[in-house]
């Protein structure tokens, strides 16, 4: 089992009232799964994804990730954990405008203290694998949305994570580009990468092996 959420609660206090963002969420994810989280706006999809990705905390409950108890870990350990095992893909790609495709891919490796030759090898490998060698010296603004998201996924994959978290990865793309991205996810999943995606689209959700529906922070 890759991760397990037990009775997760998350809330904010607003005007003396407690508003629940997540309410008693229980979830187990095994390696190799492809999960889609669905639900209307404000139902807590992204919050759940961020909790899983350890970018956001929670107020109550337990979270186990590969035998580690995330809820009792110190900040530093937690960030080491997600750095090593989790890759993120965003709706608006979040590539750095000042860096070329190659440099954007290289960035995570810099923070993981890889040596220069190793970085080069991994970047070259990734460019090759995603068929974007010709674009390696372009800046994000010079790419189409689909190509940018391709780079975003390549960046998420470059340090071989066990888990990819994708927050509406096709939300900014047209349907053809979106399809290509989903096909890519499917292929990655077949190669053994665990994927959790948030999506509004039934069609995209169908690519996954399991669908989780959220409503007002509660799994339904």
């Amino acid at each position: 089992m890759l991760l397990q959420l037990k009775n997760i609660f998350k809330w904010v206090n607003s005007g003396g009232q407690r508003i629940f963002l997540l309410k008693d969420v229980n979830l187990e994810v095994s390696e190799g799964e492809f999960i889609s989280i669905m639900g209307p706006s404000g139902s807590g999809k992204s919050t759940l994804l961020n909790v899983i990705g350890m970018l956001d905390g929670f107020d109550e409950g337990e979270y186990h990730f590969l035998d580690e108890s995330v809820h009792s870990l110190k900040e530093k350990h937690r960030s080491n954990l997600y750095k090593e095992y989790i890759g993120f893909v965003f709706q608006s790609y979040h590539l750095l405008d000042d860096l070329t495709v190659k440099e954007n891919l290289e960035m995570p490796l810099l923070y993981k203290k890889y040596g220069s030759s190793e970085r080069k090898a991994k970047v070259a490998d990734m460019l090759d694998r995603f068929n974007i060698v010709g674009k390696k010296d372009l800046f994000p603004a010079q790419l189409s949305g689909g190509q940018q998201q391709l780079v975003g996924i390549a960046r998420a994959l470059i340090s071989n994570p066990k888990l990819i978290l994708a927050d509406e990865p096709t939300g900014n793309l047209n349907s053809k580009q979106g399809e290509e991205i989903m096909e890519l996810f499917k292929k990655l999943n077949d190669e053994g990468v665990t994927i959790i995606q948030v999506t509004h689209s039934e069609k995209n959700a169908a690519y996954g092996s399991r669908i989780i529906n959220l409503l007002d922070g509660r799994m339904v």
Binding site: L55, D56, F88, H94, D98, M107, P108
Partner: protein
């Protein structure tokens, strides 16, 4: 990683050139200013610090009650002080007396003649002061009555080469002191660069004593300066309280007390107020250092403000980096790297700028500054660059990296109200300093202008001052007679010392009906020629002046108003004063006139008509005929002094020399104030440009809802104008207090008027308005549809 930081830094620059430019210009100019002030300060603080004995080397000062409730400080002492210190004061290891020759003396070889400055000094002079002898022996150089030492420069000028000079003879001539003797060159010295005193020859003090009229050698005649080396271990405080009444034990009539002051302090702490060292050049050293640091701070604030203002642009980068695994430390490091790099880059530019403008700066400051290129300087400027970078980078670095990645990536600008307040506070601070500097510069200028144009009680315009030298020594009267015949000459006379410095004083005068208090009165004392009062345009209050007087009739005296008032004389004319020598009858009273600088009140003054010890000839010429008259005077001068250049000064320019320090500081602070306001406005401009972008959407929505362009303009500009107004409110009271404090040093000062301050504030406001207006107008004018579509 560092390579990566640098790469990102460079790309950021190319993407946001205006911000980079603002930061670069600001930091470069402020660092330039820091470097220049540093060079200036360094030059000031090392003055006279080269003397090996500086910890023990003291000058002997006299404090004399001035009869007006406080003490005046004099540097002169009786020539008897030297022996007395040497023989009677066990704490004194060595002592030296010098007598300064007033003005220039003429050094004459068989074929050359040069005017130069020098003094008589007793034997141990070169032992006490570390002025190295290139030739000669410190023990012997001034031992013989006819021995002298000359500077290397003088030796080269007179004999071609310094080694030729030793053992040669020179005639030294000086009118005022009746000196015309042959001296043998026994030593050649070279004055170190950091000496505040500059002179070309030193004569044996024995000659001075020999020539001095023995009647003039007593404890009331203060001709010399005395320096002493105290033995190590002597506590100066207790020694000073012990030596205080030294003169009184010699001469019970004498009011003066003795005070030993460290010689090395003389340059920086050159002012005495009521017997205590009180500022002087040190004030300006501290002031300029603070101003330079302030200007650097303003530039650093620009950097901080622009960095945090542009946070929204950088914040995405920070969020993404955090998500892909960057730790906060590495991000902080990245930002600090950027700011340090920028500071470094600016420092290199500043260094080049300094190298370029150093000649100009030397001119403004009246110094000969050099820009040494050595390891310690490089370390220092590197240090300054690093510290500047760290200071200006620290706030954005720690502020921008503290947010959680997720809140940043959600696209929310985590810029809090508190942050905006900090930014506003910083802008207020910048403008406060700018306004303060503007006030300072205007007050200094107005005071200087006031001094220049103040009615001094005499008319300093169109008066030529000629030093009495060479041929004029014996033929002064003839020269003046012939000068009066020149059509453009209105009047002519002569005086002891010059109009900006009556250095002689006398005391212990007695007169009928004298009160106990007025026994202590000290008079400034000068010998003047016939027609002196008319030539100078001094007004008579009562009695008569020295018109067509025959000099050296020792029975008459003219006093000034202040003297008469303090002496308590109802009917001064005809009163006879016992001056511990001849009795003199008061024949006239002149209205008060200012000598010395306007730092000082008018003191009692006595004018005696004598032709001895005269150093300056004064010639009043007609306005509008200056050129013709000077040509005629030049011819006349050449007749009396063949081969000598006609060297003269206009009195008003001599007068300006008195305020040289103030004038230099004024012109320096003018540039500094300009720089401060420029850098502040650059920062303001950057800030306005940025917020204008941020508020484009807001303005669009408001315009859709019916706001007019002019309303939008006012809304946008007022945000910043308010800050400048706030700065005014904060600063003007402080500026008032500071200005008042500076002016209180002057006995004659301008009154402070409210509009000086409002004017400075409005000037800053106006400049700020111009800065803000352009961008605000652009934003206010933009089409709402376009701005909203971009959303």
């Amino acid at each position: 990683m560092l390579k990566n930081h640098i790469k990102l830094f460079l790309r950021n620059i190319s993407r946001d050139k205006s911000t980079f430019f603002i930061n670069l210009v600001g930091l470069t100019s402020s660092l330039t200013c820091v470097l220049l002030v540093f060079l200036w300060v360094k030059d000031e603080v090392v003055k006279d610090q080269f003397h090996a004995n500086k910890e023990q080397l003291y000058q002997v000062f006299r404090h004399v009650p001035n009869g007006q409730g406080s003490l005046n400080t004099y540097t002169s002492n009786s020539s008897l002080m030297l022996k007395a210190l040497q023989q009677e004061v066990p704490e004194v290891e060595q002592a030296v007396a010098i007598f300064r020759i007033n003005g220039n003396a003429m050094l004459q070889t068989e074929d050359k003649k040069l005017a130069s400055i020098g003094f008589f000094a007793s034997e141990d002079y070169f032992k006490l002061f570390s002025i190295p002898l290139i030739e000669g022996n410190t023990n012997e150089v001034l031992r013989d009555v006819n021995s002298m030492a000359i500077s290397k420069r003088m030796a080269e000028n007179l004999f071609g080469q310094e080694s030729f000079a030793i053992g040669k003879s020179l005639i030294v001539k000086n009118g005022e002191d009746g000196l015309e003797d042959v001296f043998t060159i026994n030593g050649i010295f070279e004055i170190p660069k950091n000496s505040s005193e500059n002179f070309d020859f030193v004569l044996s003090y024995k000659k001075f004593l020999q020539k001095r009229d023995s009647r003039d050698i007593h404890w009331g005649s203060n001709s010399s300066r005395v320096y002493a080396l105290l033995k190590t271990g002597v506590g100066i405080e207790s020694f000073n309280s012990k030596i205080k009444d030294f003169i009184k034990t010699k001469d019970s009539e004498n009011q003066a007390s003795v005070f030993f002051g460290l010689y090395a302090d003389n340059y920086l702490k050159n002012r005495f107020v009521n017997g205590k060292r009180s500022g002087g050049r040190i004030t300006y050293v501290i002031l300029l250092s603070i101003v330079a640091l302030f200007i650097l701070t303003i530039a650093c604030i620009n950097f901080m403000n622009l960095s945090t203002a542009r946070a929204s642009k950088r914040i995405k980068e920070i969020g993404v980096k955090k998500v892909v695994g960057a730790e906060r430390n590495s991000l902080v490091l990245q930002f600090l790297t950027e700011s340090v790099l920028l500071a470094f880059f600016s420092m290199i530019l500043a260094y080049l700028t300094v190298a370029l403008i150093l000649p100009w700066f030397s001119d403004v400051t009246g110094k000969q500054l050099e820009f040494p290129f050595n390891i310690s300087l490089i370390l220092l400027i590197t240090g300054i660059a690093v510290v500047t970078g760290l200071v200006s980078g620290s706030y954005p670095a720690f502020y921008l990296t503290k947010f959680k990645a997720i809140s940043v990536l959600k696209g929310k600008l985590p810029i809090s109200h508190g942050n905006r307040l900090v930014r506003k506070g910083l802008v207020i601070f910048q403008f406060s300093i700018s306004i303060l500097l503007i006030v300072a510069v205007s007050v200094i200028y107005m005071q200087l202008d006031f001094i220049q144009s103040k009615n001094l009680g005499y008319n300093k315009d169109n008066i030529i001052a000629i030093e009495r030298q060479d041929g004029l020594v014996n033929n002064m009267e003839t020269f003046l007679q012939e000068a009066r015949m020149i059509p453009g000459v209105v009047n002519a006379s002569y005086m002891q010392g010059d109009m900006t410095n009556f250095s002689n004083s006398s005391s212990n005068h007695r007169w009928p009906g004298q009160s106990e208090e007025s026994k202590k009165l000290t008079f400034r004392h000068a010998h003047v020629g016939p027609n002196f009062i008319e030539t100078m345009g001094i007004e008579m209050k009562e009695g008569r002046s020295y018109v067509n007087e025959v000099p050296n009739n020792n029975s008459k005296i003219i006093l000034n108003e202040t003297a008469v008032k303090l002496m308590g004389l109802e009917n001064p004319i005809g009163t006879v004063i016992d001056m511990r020598g001849p009795n003199r009858e008061i024949i006239g009273v002149v209205k008060d006139f200012n000598i010395q600088s306007l730092y000082e009140e008018i003191t009692p003054m006595a004018l005696v008509c004598r032709s001895e010890w005269i150093s300056t000839l004064l010639i009043k010429i007609k306005a509008g005929e200056e050129k013709k008259t000077i040509t005629a005077l030049t011819q006349l001068f050449e007749k009396f002094n063949p081969g000598l250049p006609f060297d003269f000064d206009f009195l008003d320019s001599q007068y300006e020399q008195l305020y040289l320090a103030e004038q230099r500081v004024a012109s320096l602070s003018k540039y500094l104030a300009g720089l401060a306001i420029l850098i502040s406005c650059l920062g303001l401009f950057g800030l306005v440009t940025f917020t204008a972008q941020l508020r484009k959407r807001e303005v669009s929505i408001r315009k859709v809802l019916g706001q007019t362009t002019s309303q939008a303009f006012i809304m946008l500009s007022s945000e910043f104008i308010k800050l400048v107004v706030a700065a005014m409110v904060v600063t003007l009271p402080i500026a008032y207090l500071l200005a008042n404090d500076w002016l209180s040093d002057f006995a004659y000062r301008i009154p402070l008027r409210i509009w000086y301050f409002l004017g400075a504030g409005c000037a800053a406001l106006l400049i700020a308005m111009f800065t803000v207006a352009g961008q605000s107008l652009l934003t206010a004018n933009s089409s709402p549809a376009k701005a909203l579509r971009q959303e």
